[in-house]
């Protein structure tokens, strides 16, 4: 039985992570799920959220944007558009983005073309702030 899962986190810009980890929790589009070693083959989409993994008793958090996950033979490949580890998030900037998005949403109506864009921006900013506050512990 495999002891660890290999977590590969890839964005269009670079390979963010390639580590042996004990456990991964990911924000699936139909709900949060957890992957342990010997997981069955799985393919699912992710939504904006907090992806966390445990390595040697420590938990790490990463803020991820839209993407999908493939689990096969204890290799978990996560393809996301953006991924920011908690310790790399600029909290000030994230908070600014958050308030900017909130302001913009107040002025827009449901039908506006930009509404969805701003809503997505808001979700991203919220996750960033949340993930940053978790930090690794």
């Amino acid at each position: 039985m495999a002891e660890k899962i290999k977590l590969e986190l890839v964005t269009p810009y670079k390979r963010v992570l390639s580590e042996e980890v004990d456990e991964v929790t990911a924000p699936g589009s139909v709900g949060e799920f957890c992957v342990l070693p010997d997981h069955t083959s799985l393919l699912t989409t992710l939504k904006v959220g907090d992806l966390s993994y445990k390595q040697d008793g420590k938990t790490f958090h990463v803020a991820v944007n839209w993407g999908y996950v493939e689990v096969e033979d204890d290799v978990m490949t996560v393809l996301v558009e953006t991924a920011e580890p908690a310790d790399q998030i600029d909290v000030e900037r994230a908070k600014e983005a958050l308030s900017r998005a909130e302001e913009a949403l107040k002025t827009l109506s449901n039908e506006d073309k930009d509404f969805k864009i701003m809503e997505a921006a808001l979700a991203r900013a919220m996750i960033r702030v949340q993930v940053a506050s978790e930090k690794s512990h």
């Binding site: 890839v10 964005t11 269009p12 810009y13 670079k14 390979r15 699936g28 589009s29 139909v30 799920f33 069955t40 083959s41 799985l42 393919l43 699912t44 989409t45 839209w66 999908y68 493939e70 096969e72 490949t77 393809l79 558009e81 953006t82």
Partner: protein, 290 residues
């Protein structure tokens, strides 16, 4: 024959030009390295995407997905990626010609073709050619100096929208794929409908657990795939452009040195001739006095 002063001036001009071409070469070399890294970083993502998509498409009914379903033989759109700036050898004209030839040679494949161009140079070249219908030209995609994912994504979304409107039956992509600083491969690929990679029959295909369902996953991945492909094509094109410019500027610098060498020789000859002439005058003058 050109006077000494004229030749000296010429040498000065060529030297100035050489300085510029040398500087441009250095700049391109630096930019090329960055662009090359970006391409290398984007490739695993794009490749993985195509793998997943292909294995999904195998199991799903292609006709249920508008981006996979084959359409008729009506109008086709050619997306051409060039650069905004020149001085990069045959980079832009070559790729534009490839697009032009593709349209001419496949004239029977589709009723008519239209073009969507990224990059100023391709637009300037093709808008003067006969029979080229340009529906849109993006001339500011590369102005920021770096291609970001949103740039590619927006272009991808625009193309998907055009396709969804139903005006086009197929969309092709023409761009320079980066191979090395010296070589670019002019590539023509079919963008839409998406062609999944052929999977050999005997290859083991993993049975996945899909969440929420295979068709829903596919539905989300297909448009993303187009965005990623566009992003990647833009990156490849930019890296190719820097490579082409570096090569072009390198040979320009070499030509300039050669020219300076020739001109210097000419200058020295002319100088020598002038000295000989003066000496002759002095000697004959001295002879006359005797």
């Amino acid at each position: 024959m050109a006077s000494l002063k004229d030749i000296k001036k010429r040498i000065g001009t060529v030297k100035n030009t050489q300085q510029i071409t040398k500087a441009m070469k250095m700049v391109s070399a630096a930019k090329l390295r960055r662009a090359q890294e970006a391409v290398a970083a984007a490739r695993p993502y794009a490749d993985k995407m195509l793998d997943v998509l292909s294995s999904l498409a195998l199991r799903e009914d292609a006709d249920s997905q508008p981006l996979l379903a084959k359409r008729g033989k009506g109008k086709a759109l050619v997306v051409l990626i060039t650069s905004d700036r020149g001085l990069c050898g045959g980079f832009n004209s070559n790729i534009s010609k490839v697009a032009e030839r593709f349209i001419h040679e496949n004239a029977e494949g589709f009723e008519s073709y239209e073009l969507l161009i990224a990059g100023r140079k391709g637009n300037t070249y093709l808008k003067r050619r006969a029979g080229m219908e340009i529906i849109k030209a993006h001339e500011d995609l590369f102005s920021s100096g770096q291609v970001t994912y949103p740039t590619g994504a927006l272009l991808g979304q625009e193309i998907i929208e055009l396709y969804h409107d139903g005006e086009y039956d197929a969309i092709f992509l023409v761009y320079n794929a980066f191979q090395s600083a010296m070589t670019q491969i002019q590539t023509v690929t079919q963008l839409l409908p998406i062609v999944p990679k052929e999977v050999a029959e005997d290859v083991h295909v993993t049975e996945y657990l899909y969440e929420p369902s295979a068709s829903e996953v596919l539905e989300q991945i297909l448009p993303k795939h187009i965005e990623v492909q566009m992003f990647r094509a833009l990156l490849e094109s930019v890296a190719s452009e820097h490579g082409a410019r570096m090569t072009a500027m390198d040979s320009a610098s070499k030509n300039a040195s050669e020219m300076i060498g020739k001109l210097t020789l000419k200058y020295n000859r002319a100088r020598q001739a002038a000295i000989t002439g003066e000496l002759m005058e002095i000697i004959s003058g001295a002879e006359a006095i005797k």
